[in-house]
């Protein structure tokens, strides 16, 4: 049966460093490949998806799991301007505008993602 020490050992430092390195590596890898931005895709409760043009300003109110969210599409970016949810993470995430970025409201079960699309003259950039 393995026994655990309570004194800090080199293994701890290695483990922590490994996780941090993995994070940095993923960050670097993620920023190299990105998708283009054209649409705002809102996934509600993993069953319904609504799609809006990213470049058409509008305000959308949706309700999911008893929580009401106010989503603002403005000047090529999306943000959640108001939410009833208890942790407000979706509001604090702020404004997103790049393809692949997303705002999630876990209590409401809502995911707002910026996806590609747009006109036929846009080439798909391989990541």
């Amino acid at each position: 049966m393995g026994v655990v020490r309570t004194k800090i050992s080199p293994g701890d430092i290695i483990a922590t460093a490994a996780i941090l390195l993995a994070a940095v590596f993923l960050l670097a890898a993620g920023s190299i490949s990105g998708t283009d931005a054209g649409y705002v895709e809102i996934l509600i409760g993993s069953r319904r998806t609504e799609r809006f043009d990213l470049y058409e300003d509008r305000e959308i109110v949706i309700e999911s799991n008893g929580i009401t969210l106010t989503i603002k599409i403005e000047k090529g970016g999306v943000s959640v301007s108001h939410s009833d949810c208890p942790d407000q993470v979706c509001v604090y995430t702020g404004r997103i505008e790049k393809g692949g970025e997303s705002i999630i409201c876990a209590p409401a079960g809502v995911a707002i993602t910026i996806t590609g699309g747009g006109g036929g003259d846009v080439d798909h950039i391989a990541g």
Binding site: V4, T6, T16, I19, Q88, E101, C105
Partner: protein
């Protein structure tokens, strides 16, 4: 660090288990009030205080008891404060975390203190929750992974170092003053 003898009676183990589950629930409940969202807008992210307890039980009492306590905590929290969605996230996270502890128990014999175990189990817990979210919300959410790992390393370190300090002090109390 010695382990607790398993020669206790079923009754005393039941009582101890109940007390530990209550403590775990209390930790989960209290930490849900801390609005981490302001500093770190990561959906479903928590300090992971209950993990301190689960790790302690896992390595100093019994792995099975730790697994049961973790499962009961997830279920009761979901019943009282959550919904089927949060239960799914929580359950997958806890499962990943426990699996990691099982592996560490046999693989990292004496090479890690609670700090390393905490960082790894916290990271696995959050990866599990992210995986659950990815299943439901799609692959876009994986973009949260780097920030999540950094936060797991940070808070996991705090919890682990805390347990390093606390464990030798708690152990005699749970033994009931023997020895």
């Amino acid at each position: 660090m010695s382990t607790i003898s398993r020669a206790d009676s079923p009754a005393s183990r039941a009582a101890r288990g109940a007390a530990l589950v209550s403590a775990a629930l209390l930790l989960s409940y209290l930490e849900s009030f801390i609005p981490l969202g302001i500093f770190l807008p990561l959906p479903g992210f928590r300090l992971g205080l209950a993990n301190i307890l689960v790790m302690f039980v896992f390595f100093c009492i019994s792995a099975t008891e730790a697994a049961i306590i973790s499962a009961v905590r997830v279920i009761v929290m979901a019943l009282l404060f959550g919904n089927p969605l949060s239960f799914f996230f929580s359950a997958l996270g806890a499962a990943f975390s426990l699996a990691g502890m099982f592996v560490l128990k046999y693989a990292a014999n004496n090479k890690l203190s609670f700090w390393g175990i905490s960082v790894i189990s916290a990271s696995l817990h959050n990866i599990g929750q992210l995986a659950a979210a990815a299943i439901l919300f799609g692959r876009a959410i994986i973009s949260y992974l780097p920030a999540l790992l950094i936060a797991s390393a940070a808070f996991g370190s705090i919890c682990g170092i805390l347990l390093n300090i606390l464990a030798p002090k708690i152990l005699p109390a749970i033994r009931g003053g023997e020895r």
